[in-house]
């Protein structure tokens, strides 16, 4: 592999980075952990001849608590998220997802912003971000704006990011203590597998197992990660029992629009989505699903 054909810019500050981006726009490709970009380079399909290396931007490596919000700097790696106590306490569903991404080496390098920037419908951190009402902060030399993650993606590999913009921060809402949650991923092996289907769900059950609210997001079953809004609506306010679980899981499998590729057919993905939703909700019903602890140890 000949990397010398690429011009690499390695800014030391965010301002410097935004300056380069302002000048180069789509001539330059952003590179963070490089776990997607390096694959493109190796396959000879990267169009850009210049790289904007973000890895020195220490100011974008942080996880901060701000009231009900967790702010995650764009360059935070999966491993850092997995180790963070606030994320474990208030957004553990994201931790579960991070642990399924690639394997140890990828988790050490890969960043949350990279997963967003890559915009694969199979990105595994994305369904949890959807159910955590995440917002994506985009910054340019001139301005900044915030877009809900559910509006950020336009299709496979397509986002609303303008060529002069950088994702600088992702904010997520803390999940309330006591909520049930699950992240389930179906791949063909236990590590380094691309999702055939993934499901993230946070459900608020009252004492009598009535669904106060439910959020369900699915990966790899549509051009972008999607919330199963119809099924969420159908479930809200109803008593969780085996019949309802079946109804919700069926609803989800109908609501999605998966494609057929070498990893699986449309038909199979629908059935697998049914299975994952069923299994997760069953565990919630039986009280064996995980619950958000919110830092109040020993309560749940």
């Amino acid at each position: 592999m000949n990397y010398s054909q690429y011009t690499v810019h390695s800014p030391q500050t965010l301002n410097e980075a935004l300056g380069i981006l302002k000048e180069k726009q789509s001539e330059v490709r952003l590179i963070a952990g490089g776990t997607d970009v390096m694959v493109l380079i190796k396959d000879g399909v990267l169009k850009e001849k210049e790289l904007l290396n973000l890895s020195y931007l220490d100011e974008l490596k942080y996880i901060r608590e701000d009231g009900n919000i967790i702010k995650v700097g764009a360059l935070t790696t999966y491993r850092e998220l997995e180790k963070s106590s606030v994320v474990n306490l208030s957004a553990p569903i994201l931790v579960d997802a991070c642990k399924t991404i690639g394997a140890t080496q990828i988790q050490n390098l890969g960043t949350l912003a990279g997963n967003l920037g890559n915009a694969s419908p199979a990105g595994d951190s994305l369904p949890p971000l959807y159910v955590l009402n995440a917002n994506v902060k985009l910054q340019s030399a001139e301005s900044e704006r915030i877009i809900p993650v559910s509006e950020f993606f336009l299709g496979p590999r397509k986002t609303k990011r303008a060529p002069n913009e950088l994702i600088t921060e992702i904010t997520i809402e803390k999940a309330k203590p006591g909520l049930h949650y699950f992240f389930k991923k179906l791949g063909l092996r236990e590590a380094n597998a691309i999702s055939l289907v993934s499901v993230a769900c946070i459900v608020d059950l009252d004492k009598d197992k009535k669904i106060n609210s439910i959020k369900l997001a699915l990966g790899a079953v549509a051009p972008t990660v999607m919330r199963a809004v119809k099924s969420e609506k159908l479930a809200t306010g109803r008593q969780l029992d085996l019949n309802l679980i079946d109804e919700i899981a069926r609803g989800v499998s109908e609501e999605i629009s998966p494609i057929t590729d070498i990893r699986g057919s449309t038909e199979y993905r629908r059935r697998a989505a049914y299975g994952l939703v069923y299994e997760g909700l069953y565990e919630a019903l039986m009280g064996t699903a995980k619950r958000v602890s919110g830092g109040i140890e020993g309560v749940y």
């Binding site: 063909l188 380094n192 070498i262 059935r271 697998a272 299975g275 994952l276």
Partner: protein, 748 residues
């Protein structure tokens, strides 16, 4: 048992660390493809972009214009035979009039840098006239099919018969008629095919390349370059994995040709994707069985139609077909059988040797059939096997006398008592189903009736070391360590006095290839003979030294004793050396074999067989169809275990590779004959997290023909994995999957 052995032996039967583990673990070891030589050129291969086409023209003019390009070779530049192939040389070294698989080599480039070589390769213009692509066995044998070779589309066809299957079927209580299929499997060694070649001062072409058969490679190179084999040296250590995929020539002829033509050192190293399209794979199989039993489950007859897809060329195909013939009756007593076996050409890449060599394909069929018969008859799958397996001393299915099958019987008895056979898993979720499966395997050690005369040598070095030399390549399986242990045992010296000279035709005599689970048996025996020869000679030298005659000497711990005097083998070697005598002792072992193959075969039967019994416990998710094998027990009869930890590693590795074959690995070609999944992302080999709990037990057994009673180990555990896993899944789901792999969509 282990304690007893520990008293009996000093070096063998012990799990000593590998002789090359330290440099491998620390990373200090350089693999062959790490080699760099000053002024080395880099090679690239121009490959066919059609799976089947006529070549109309090859235009290299644009490529020649690139400065830094030192050679562009086509078929016209091959001085000798433009063909290779271990058994039948039917594959062109460089295609001339026609290409038969996607990725087939058409031209070679050598240039100053890898990038220039690849750029020049992209500029070679080849005009093709596409021909119909044959994508399956069915398409290949259809009467309307275009012929892929002059001899048609069936590379080899044979029928072997015994008894009267028609009558047996009529008298049978139950006859099942089933078709089983197995996919192509890629070797996926961590080090893709590659190497370096250069010409030394004496004009010898040195070819350093990952391989398994230094001498056969050398002959194939010589044949294509039209130079004497003495002008070629091949070195194969250290190779980063092979599994059969480097048994036939990969880069060796191309490398030698480029070095020969340019006079410069050249490196050629496949990328992972290149290995994916141009490297070999296991034969795909379709096996049709009609098998009959009596009411008690006694096997009466077996009618087998075997089709193996060899892809575009034969390589080892004819002998792979033989092994599939030999294993289609399992280790069972089957009085009547007909085996109709066919090796079929297609445009599905290029099949060659792969661990098990036709046996995993046949085993999936016959062992699944036995499990289906047991289920139909409501018999315990272990009992039906115990009823039918051949006993020691009985006549085998191919006229051979069965030696040592007691290990298999013992293994089945132990399997029956095992925890996983008895118990279903606890704490299952409602959608999880658990099932246990079994399959047994038999595999011959070595080349059957083919003449095999492996030679090995030892040298008593006066500085206190014994050097040992053989041509079996240590590509990770540990043969260097096992052989060092055998020699240390025989010479009664500490292991650290044994130094292994790795596979290199400059030093190593021809012991043949590392394949067919034969290395320990062949080089081990030859080395033990060489040790005896050395001891005999040194004893005479000791007599001279002590001024006595033979009978009065004792030998112990590397020294000859006479009264109160003693001398080490190294001291005595000095005496020999001083008189200019050789310190190198070479011996050739005659591998025991039947004088001729049975009619219709090339090498059936073998004299020595290994056996394995595999229990698998499957956890099936009924809602997603996903299968996880969570526990495996393996009982192996491999004779004396020279190094238990290395042998267990071989068994475990084979199980995991076998479970990949069983569950996720599925090499596919698209409509144009191009492979779809050619890297680790798309071709799903198991990760370490997919590995089940594995329990390995060696059955106490000893094969007198082997070195200290050893047989072989490399292939036995991959063979039953497919049928064992499929049976476990049947017991979990009630579904027989007869076409591997056990992908989730086949199970919901």
């Amino acid at each position: 048992m282990e304690e007893e052995l520990e008293q009996k032996y000093k070096s063998i039967t012990r799990s000593v660390p590998r002789v090359d583990s330290e440099p491998k673990v620390s990373g200090a070891l350089k693999f062959i493809t790490d080699m760099k030589i000053e002024n080395m050129l880099f090679a690239a291969v121009v490959r066919s972009v059609h799976a089947h086409a006529r070549i109309l023209s090859i235009d290299t003019r644009e490529a020649e214009k690139i400065s830094g390009v030192k050679a562009i070779l086509t078929y016209k530049d091959i001085p000798g035979l433009n063909a290779y192939g271990a058994i039948v040389p039917d594959a062109p070294v460089l295609a001339y009039d026609r290409v038969r698989y996607y990725g087939e080599p058409v031209a070679l480039i050598a240039a100053d840098t890898e990038e220039l070589a690849r750029e020049a390769a992209s500029l070679v213009k080849i005009e093709y006239d596409p021909l119909p692509v044959i994508r399956s066995i069915d398409e290949s044998i259809a009467s309307s099919a275009i012929a892929l070779h002059d001899n048609g589309n069936i590379a080899r066809h044979t029928i072997i018969k015994r008894g009267d299957t028609e009558r047996a079927k009529q008298e049978a209580y139950l006859t099942l008629d089933r078709t089983y299929r197995t996919p192509f499997q890629k070797h996926m060694f961590l080090e893709p095919e590659g190497g370096v070649a250069y010409i030394d001062e004496s004009g010898i072409i040195n070819v350093f390349a990952g391989g398994q058969s230094p001498y056969r490679d050398k002959l194939q190179i010589a044949r294509s370059l039209n130079i004497p084999p003495e002008k070629i040296r091949t070195v194969d250590y250290p190779t980063g994995g092979a599994f059969g995929g480097k048994d036939d020539v990969t880069v060796q002829i191309h490398l030698a040709l480029l070095a020969y033509k340019t006079g410069k050192p050249v490196k050629l190293w496949f990328s992972r994707e290149e290995s994916g399209v141009a490297g070999y794979h296991r034969t795909g199989s379709e096996i049709h069985l009609i098998t009959s039993v009596d009411k008690e489950g006694g096997l009466l007859s077996n009618e087998a139609q075997i089709y193996l897809d060899t892809g575009a060329y034969q390589s080892f195909g004819p002998t792979i077909l033989d092994v599939s013939i030999e294993t289609i009756n399992g280790p069972y007593r089957i009085p009547n059988y007909t085996i109709n076996a066919n090796l079929v050409y297609t445009n599905n890449g290029f099949s060659s040797a792969f661990r098990g060599f036709g046996a995993p394909e046949s085993n999936f069929a016959i062992e699944s059939m036995i499990n289906e018969l047991a289920a139909e008859l409501h018999l315990d799958p272990i009992d039906i096997r115990l009823k039918n397996i051949l006993m020691t001393g009985e006549e085998g299915p191919f006229g051979n006398t069965v030696r040592h099958s007691d290990g298999l019987r013992e293994a089945l008895m132990r399997a029956k008592r095992s925890k996983i056979w008895a118990g279903a898993l606890q704490n299952k979720k409602p959608w999880q189903r658990n099932g246990v499966g079994i399959a047994v395997a038999i595999k011959g050690v070595g080349f059957g009736t083919l003449p095999d005369y492996p030679t090995a040598a030892i040298e008593i070095a006066t500085e206190g070391k014994v050097k040992i030399m053989f041509s079996n390549v240590d590509y990770g399986q540990g043969i260097n360590t096992g052989n060092a242990q055998l020699v240390a045992e025989k010479l009664d010296i500490p292991l650290n006095q044994v130094e292994v000279r790795h596979a290199d035709t400059k030093y190593s005599p021809d012991t043949g290839s590392s394949s067919a689970s034969r290395s320990t048996f062949t080089s081990g025996n030859a080395l033990l003979m060489a040790c005896s020869k050395a001891l005999d000679r040194l004893k005479m030298e000791a007599c001279l030294y002590f001024g006595t005659t033979n009978e009065k000497l004792e030998y112990k711990e590397g020294r000859f004793y006479y009264k109160d005097k003693s001398a080490s083998i190294y001291e005595l070697a000095k005496g020999l050396k001083a008189r200019g005598e050789t310190l190198r002792f070479e011996s050739t072992f005659e591998v025991p074999r039947y004088p001729a193959p049975i009619e219709g075969t090339l090498e059936v039967p073998h004299v020595v067989y290994m056996y394995g019994t595999m229990l698998s416990s499957a956890l099936l998710d009924e809602l997603t169809g996903k299968v996880h094998i969570n526990q495996v027990e393996f009982y192996a009869d491999i004779g004396t275990v020279i190094n238990p930890s290395i042998a267990s590693g071989q068994i475990e590795g084979g199980i995991v590779q076998g479970l990949g074959f069983a569950i996720t690995e599925d090499l596919k070609y698209d409509a144009s004959g191009k492979p779809i999944n050619n890297n680790y992302t798309t071709y799903i080999v198991p990760s370490v997290r997919d590995v089940p709990d594995i329990y390995v037990e060696f059955i106490d057994s000893s094969e007198e023909l082997g070195p200290y009673g050893a047989k072989g180990v490399g292939e036995i555990s991959i063979i039953p994995a497919g049928a064992s896993a499929a049976h476990a899944v049947y017991n979990a789901s009630g579904k027989w999957v007869r076409d591997l792999p056990l992908l989730p969509w086949k199970l919901i």
